[in-house]
């Protein structure tokens, strides 16, 4: 880590030892310009398109239509429904993924034998794309050729039982979507918690053991408080991820039954690109982007990504 630093004007001293070998800002330009073009410009384009009427045809450029899309979005009942589904999915993701990843992550950070093999197996979902995971589960829950059909045979269930049409009912379909999120995303969060748990100084546990604290007290008084930052980071990633993704919904249910699994980003995709109403879809996109940024800003503040900047840059 750096020693004490003498005060000197930023970037002015070219000849001195401390300024020597330091890159100028030009080094950052290629990446920043490239990034800005493909990711900041689209943000501006989304705002612009949200005030236009455009059907995605090159021969008919966007036509300014003022607040029409915004009025439509704010009065559309399917937007309210989509927000409801989005919130339900986020809540389900957090209440299922946090406890699971926390417990398994802490367990995986411990000294058990054979743990490395088990942890390697936990990883499998991380190697699969969400498209692959969704197609796999879609096939597994198929009423005629998947697990429900086999269960019907084994247990001699009636043709129309709870499992027979998991994707045909809003709540069971939401349950399947939430389970796929859990299956696909929890290994990542397990890994994050494992890393966090490994970083807890062993001496804390030794001190607690000397004081006679048992496993549960150690867990609640040392492990949990020490994992606070890990928890915040992992949860925000979970929330932003669940909030903005729709590939699973698109492949599994196409938002159905009867819009029962349509979350906000899927509504954006469906109205914007499938129904070719770019302006309307862009208005929803702007809402999603603003909310995602707000959540991420909280993440940056809480985890101290931005503080890193102040304390270590230019040292």
């Amino acid at each position: 880590m750096p020693g004490p630093r003498t005060a000197e004007p930023d970037g002015k001293k070219r000849g001195g030892l401390r300024g020597a070998g330091r890159p100028s800002f030009v080094w950052s330009l290629p990446a920043v310009i490239f990034f800005a073009f493909f990711s900041l410009v689209p943000l501006a384009v989304a705002v612009y398109l949200s005030f236009t009427d455009y059907e995605g045809l090159a021969i008919q450029p966007p036509v300014w239509n003022g607040l029409t899309n915004w009025k439509a979005v704010l009065t559309d009942p399917s937007v309210g429904q989509a927000i409801f589904v989005t919130v339900v999915l986020i809540v389900l993701a957090v209440v299922t993924q946090v406890p699971l990843s926390l417990l398994i992550g802490v367990w995986a950070a411990g000294p058990q034998r054979g743990r490395a093999v088990v942890v390697a197996l936990y990883f499998i979902p991380l190697l699969m794309s969400s498209a692959a995971i969704t197609v796999l589960f879609s096939s597994l829950v198929d009423p005629n050729f998947g697990v429900p059909a086999t269960l019907r045979q084994i247990f001699d269930l009636p043709v129309d039982n709870v499992f027979s049409n998991l994707l045909g009912n809003q709540w069971s379909a939401i349950g399947v979507v939430a389970f796929i999120y859990l299956w696909g995303a929890s290994p990542l969060h397990t890994l994050i918690y494992q890393g966090g748990a490994r970083a807890i100084p062993e001496v804390l546990y030794q001190a607690a053991a000397i004081d006679g604290a048992g496993r549960f007290r150690q867990f609640f008084n040392i492990t949990l408080p020490q994992l606070k930052n890990t928890f915040v980071t992992s949860t925000i990633l979970m929330v932003v991820g669940t909030f903005t993704s729709f590939d699973i919904i698109l492949l599994l249910t196409s938002g159905g039954p009867n819009q029962g699994t349509t979350n906000l980003p899927y509504l954006m995709y469906n109205k914007g690109l499938s129904a070719l109403n770019y302006g309307y879809g862009s208005a929803i996109a702007v809402i999603v982007i603003v909310l995602a940024m707000a959540v991420s800003l909280v993440m940056v503040r809480v985890t101290g990504y931005d503080k890193m900047q102040g304390t270590q840059e230019g040292v």
Partner: protein, 272 residues
């Protein structure tokens, strides 16, 4: 060392392991089963035969080209990341310019905006620049959206280089280019491996960008091929599962050869 094994957590971990493994085993079972044997055994039965026919059929159905397209997108993305991100990370860690602060803040904003929420304006933009329905049109935004996270990972790794080493380089009279080439690059090999693997994984597995920026079969990537296979032949479960397995095999190879970089990359998502 903590004294006893944690049985409660162990049982819980074992139960979850089963939930992870069963779908994977069902997938492998189906991928290597003939259609007839699969129809007889169903997803929960035991395998009765072993065949590569499904894989052959997948390749005959054009999956080889889809895998090749995914490979091109992946390599293209990695090239952009490997060329653009190390100089940026070097500048963020070492530059005194206040523009760098702004560049870093821009990156942080970028973290908040996943590619999937800007598919509509991206579609508009890529169409305007004439890259719609081309692999380059998929590569450029995929790489761009990997820049913020890979930059954060690499700056973390470059910060580990001690300031005495920079001073030694400076005493030798090295300028920024030589410092970068002789000191920073060799010492951040691990970090660079991590961002390469991370961006490769992102590119290989991405679905929504290619879905919204391509249309023709000749530029179709493997994830899109899976989706279409699923819609058109959902009754052919063994064929479908073999296609899924094909999309995983390259990642599995990376996992085996670059496990450490992959894990660090994935943990890098968690920030630390």
């Amino acid at each position: 060392m903590r004294p006893r094994a944690n049985w409660l957590a162990g049982v819980f971990a074992g139960a979850w392991l089963l939930i992870i493994l069963v779908p994977v085993l069902v997938m492998l079972h189906a991928a290597f089963a003939s259609k007839k044997a699969w129809a007889a055994s169903g997803p929960l039965g035991l395998p009765t035969d072993f065949t590569f026919d499904n894989f052959v059929a997948s390749f005959q159905g054009g999956f080889g080209l889809f895998l090749l397209n995914s490979g091109i997108v992946t390599v293209g993305t990695v090239v952009f990341i490997a060329l653009l991100v190390p100089p940026l990370a070097f500048a963020i860690v070492r530059s005194r310019s206040r523009w760098i602060r702004i560049a870093f803040q821009i990156m942080l904003v970028g973290l908040a905006v996943p590619a999937q929420v800007v598919v509509i304006p991206l579609n508009f933009l890529i169409t305007q620049v004439g890259l719609y329905d081309s692999l380059l049109g998929v590569i450029l935004p995929t790489a761009a959206f990997s820049i913020p996270i890979t930059t954060l990972i690499l700056t973390g790794s470059m910060r580990e280089i001690g300031s005495d080493m920079y001073e030694a380089m400076a005493l030798d009279g090295a300028g920024s280019i030589r410092t970068f080439w002789r000191l920073v690059l060799p010492l951040s090999k691990g970090g660079i491996a991590t961002i390469v693997v991370y961006s490769a994984l992102q590119a290989w597995n991405s679905y929504l960008i290619p879905l919204t920026l391509t249309r023709s079969a000749d530029v179709r990537v493997a994830t899109l091929g899976l989706g279409i296979f699923h819609q058109e032949y959902s009754l052919n479960v063994p064929g479908l599962m073999s296609a899924i397995v094909l999309t995983i095999v390259p990642i599995l190879a990376i996992y085996i050869f670059a496990r450490r970089a992959l894990i660090r990359g994935l943990m890098g998502v968690g920030g630390k």
